[in-house]
Symmetry: C2
Subunit: 140 residues, 2 copies
DNA sequence: ATAAAAATGGACTTCTTAAGTCCACTTTTT
DNA sequence: AAAAAGTGGACTTAAGAAGTCCATTTTTAT
């Protein structure tokens, strides 16, 4: 039960984009965040394909956000980097399970999975960037 | 983000114990649940060391619960099988992190981790065994 | 007493997958 | 046209989960 390094790298990189007006190149992000740049390249491609960021090539190229950070939920990233549909081994492979199909335990496990998903849906990239106006929320 | 097979095996085995009056031997559990028995042996040892079950040796020996199943939270098992303290890589190893010590992101990640922990605390072994009197709860 | 049936402990192997690398290619700017 | 950027995919490495093995101890039935 552990967040993958990929997801953590992705969050860090996206926070960089939140804090930048111009597009940021792979190299800039990688060196700033101390992430191996070929590995980050792969992560950024996933983010591009997942429609979380946009990229431009050539000189002055780089990555930037497509949508405002308060509209990006951590859950969107969870889906990209923590391949879904196998929260539990037996969710996709019945060979580990003496009771294929629905069973009491599975129902309970799904309940837990849903709580986890909810936790990821409740956090925005904005919040990860430390820019949430929590005071507003807190006041009422 | 995935439940380990060990934890799932542990839950299944414990449910067997809930449903049994006498102690169950490793072999009985392993064959009933189709779990490789030397592997289950390791799991049962973890449960014994974790004070979740008790064991007796020799003929007629086996495993049995020490405490009533409604007092065993899934979180107790989570602690035994999903080694804590590394929900996030950087929680225990700063080398992956350009900002050691507290940072905005870590605070948010902890928040998520807490939601996960809460989800595991909310489920008892009793519930996993399908013996929860939910009707009582639901009524009021 | 002793044999059989059980748990224990720890070292070991195997397998999966996350993490990371590499390279040939395309696109854009100066 | 050269330099600086992203792209795609195949590949390698490393870590940890999953599983095995064996020698030992404990208990019970005969």
């Amino acid at each position: 039960m552990q967040i993958s390094r990929s997801l953590e790298y992705a969050v860090r990189s996206l926070v960089c984009l939140v804090n930048s007006k111009e597009p940021l190149s792979l190299k800039r992000i990688a060196s700033g965040e101390k992430i191996p740049s070929p590995y980050l390249a792969k992560i950024m491609r996933t983010l591009v394909n997942g429609k979380i960021v946009c990229s431009t090539r050539g000189r002055k190229g780089g990555y930037f956000l497509l949508i405002p950070p308060e509209e990006i939920a951590l859950y969107d990233l969870y889906l990209l980097f923590e391949k879904k549909d196998k929260f539990l081994p037996c969710f996709e492979d019945n060979s580990y399970c003496p009771t294929p199909g629905k069973c009491v335990r599975k129902v309970v496990w799904y309940k837990i999975e849903n709580a986890v998903i909810k936790a990821f849906k409740n956090v925005s990239l904005q919040e990860m960037a430390g820019k949430n106006n929590l005071s507003g929320k807190a006041k009422k």
